[in-house]
């Protein structure tokens, strides 16, 4: 492995170690390591820092991708929207940081939720713009009937899988805003899944290529985002505290993979 390879591998090693750290916390919360050294507050500080770093890096790299593409390139607005979506999530995370770093608590709902909710239309718009760009460039995105069938399939899966998962969360008593927000995130994820499912068709055909790597990372990141939001809904509404480490792990993986995808795309444009 040469110097460049080692430098390229290091961020993935950090991401893998971070995921392992929180998986370890979820599995052995009473072990000496987590009881004495990696206390819940320290782990919250590490998670908060990693999320901020990945989100800011992802936003910066996505913006640089936008900057590298010529003005008439149809993918340019998509990278800008992705950058704004990540930046909005970063601001939300940043507004939670003082509470997490100094008081070991994560207020909910809070001003952070405004930024988190705002990020979804931006991320969804980014994917829709990319989908439109691929279709107009002549890449196989499927006929209208095929696309309608995929969307209908997602709708059916959402009805079968997501509704039973979210019913206990929606049924919990509590402040209306809390309940609306807790359900809103997974619902927004389902909307996000629609363009993602359509893009999966393109992404699968890109496998084994540089562009395929970009999509593998981005799609993986968005899938972890959806998983994180559903786990958060359970954690928040049903008081499932044991899910806290898994929620952190999924968000760290999500932001890390999306940032990695943006970085890989930037490398492709810079080469």
């Amino acid at each position: 492995m040469n110097g460049h390879d080692r430098r390229s591998a290091l961020p993935w090693l950090v991401l893998g170690l971070a995921a392992a750290l929180y998986a370890g916390w979820a599995t052995f919360p009473a072990s000496g390591l987590y009881a004495r050294w990696l206390t819940p507050h320290r782990l919250l500080v590490i998670a908060s820092t990693l999320k901020l770093v990945y989100l800011l890096a992802g936003a910066a790299w996505a913006f640089q991708c936008r900057d590298r593409l010529e003005a008439a390139n149809p993918a340019r607005p998509a990278w800008f929207l992705l950058s704004l979506g990540l930046l909005s999530t970063f601001v939300g995370q940043l507004s939670l940081a003082p509470f997490q770093l100094t008081r070991n608590e994560t207020p909910f709902p809070s001003v952070a939720d405004i930024w988190y909710v705002l990020s979804y239309p931006l991320l969804i718009a980014a994917l829709v713009v990319l989908l439109k760009a691929y279709r107009e460039a002549g890449f196989p995105t499927g006929s209208v009937a095929e696309r309608a069938a995929i969307l209908a399939g997602i709708g059916v899966i959402a009805a079968i899988v997501a509704v039973p998962i979210l019913r206990p969360v929606a049924g919990v008593e509590g402040a209306l805003l809390d309940r609306i927000l807790t359900v809103a995130y997974p619902v927004l994820d389902l909307v996000l899944l629609m363009p993602l499912a359509l893009l999966l068709r393109v992404a699968l055909r890109l496998r084994g290529s540089h562009a395929g790597e970009v999509w593998l990372l981005l799609l993986g990141g968005f899938v972890f985002l959806c998983a994180g939001d559903i786990l958060f809904a359970y954690f928040q509404s049903l008081g499932a505290r044991h899910l806290d480490p898994v929620v952190h792990a999924t968000y760290i993986l999500s932001y890390g993979l999306i940032a990695g995808g943006a970085h890989r795309q930037l490398e492709l444009l810079q080469a």
Binding site: Y134, A137, F139, L206, G208, L269
Partner: protein
């Protein structure tokens, strides 16, 4: 040069960037749109096809990189033609 040979050469050049499956399906789709059928393909038809593929590559690679990959494909096609 036949259409199949041209598709083969182009797919080989484009595959590292957009994958073999996408390279072949995109080339085939553009051939269909441009009315390029099986059999011998003309120089003008190849240029039109390269233009379409370049437009698509722009999305992934940007204009400059896309232009260099298309130039690479053009050279590979010329080499193939010269060897026949």
């Amino acid at each position: 040069m036949t259409t199949n040979e041209a598709v083969e050469v182009m797919a080989r050049v484009l595959a590292p960037y957009i994958g073999d499956t996408m390279a072949r399906s995109a080339t085939a789709a553009h051939c269909q749109k441009l009315g390029i059928e099986a059999g011998t393909v003309s120089h003008e038809q190849l240029e039109a096809l390269l233009g379409k593929l370049g437009g698509g590559l722009n999305i992934f690679l940007g204009r400059d990189r896309s232009a260099s990959v298309i130039a690479e494909a053009r050279s590979a096609l010329a080499a193939r033609e010269g060897s026949q």
